[in-house]
Amino acid sequence: MTTRFEPVVGRYMSLDLSGRRHRLYVEEAGEGTPLLCLHTAGADTRQYRALMNDDRITRRHRVIAFDMPWHGKSSPPAGWHDEEYQLTSAQYTSMILEVMAALELDRPILIGCSIGGRIALHLALEHSDRFRAIIGLQAGAHVDPYYDLNFLHRPDVHGGEICAAIVSGLVGPDAPEDGRWETLWHYMQGGPGVFKGDLYFYKIDGDIRGRVSRIDTSRCPLFLLSGEYDYSCTPEETLAVARSIPGCDVTIMKGLGHFPMSENPQVFLDYLLPVLDKISAMARG
């Protein structure tokens, strides 16, 4: 087997977020229109590896992803050891805008999945002028807790095992084994309480049901793509959001689950590429 290097390049950057110093891991590949990718709760940038390795994407886009603080190779801020991590809408929003400023991204296309899809709706509402287009994967306005979240972070339950086991059924039935298990491995590697802290945003603080219909797609085009087998953000919930927003473009992806870009990237790319083509045509038009 010959050695092959991927075109993905990673580096670290130090910056202030919500008044505290952070060290974040950022990776990117390709050139062209910036495409900023947001990973799901309790995971990291590796979810977007397939996008960064697909020439159909990277020949026209600079694909960028960063590990959120506490995730992947980004450290939690100093003092973390005495804190309970809880992600809020305000922190999440400012984090994304600060990272964009630090990387000097001019009106990127934003793509976010799950919590990333939810914050994409917040950004479409509050900061539409900062984005060329917004793509929400598995984006719903709200999810009620459906299990006791305390099981995700307690010393008598293995955090990595429980996080992966909680989400394993969210992977669609057609996912190839390598995509399914790599997606779950990311969950197994999360720090203690991090997935739970992200779900504070997803299930409590980030509820946008009352405001989502005010998104103005004439200011920033909005595309929603959701997997048929996602029972966390169901197709019905995505369709309800789409129906409430005039001009929102929505697609339900057959056989896919909650992690389309990492569980089954080749099938997902068949859905994503036409969306990127539409965004490109809008820019030209």
Partner: protein, 123 residues
């Protein structure tokens, strides 16, 4: 329903038994009006005892309707029926008792019960 098939199917999966080696418990499975007590010893299914029971003792119980269980066990379950947590979210599966045992070994229970699907179906 053939819940009894669980013993042979779980015990012949070495990797599943290995992952369950710290699990010893008895849980109650109720599908419609039928019930089974399933005993697990160090990852192996030691017994599957069909009801009815007068005073079943178990660490926790899982209860679903026959219709929901049939969908869960179909070769390609429809969305919302493909996973125990999907059923729980829809309130189609009720889990009660000491759920620490269930949650601490969630992957094991998901994979063990999915073995009741027709042979060759993915967990």
């Amino acid at each position: 329903m053939m819940i009894e098939a669980l013993m042979a199917r779980v015990n012949s999966d070495e990797a599943l038994v290995r992952r369950g080696r710290f699990l010893t418990t008895t849980f109650l499975l109720e599908i419609g009006s039928a019930a089974w007590l399933i005993s697990i010893f160090e990852g192996r299914v030691a017994s599957v005892t069909p009801g009815p029971f007068v005073m079943p003792s178990s660490s926790f119980a899982l209860r679903a309707s026959e219709e929901e269980w049939k969908k869960f066990l179909s070769p390609r379950p429809p969305p919302g029926s493909n996973d125990l947590m999907a059923l729980i979210k829809r309130r189609a599966l009720n889990a009660e008792g000491d759920l620490w045992v269930f949650m601490a070994n969630l992957r094991y229970f998901k994979e063990a019960l999915a073995k009741l699907r027709p042979t060759g179906t993915k967990a």
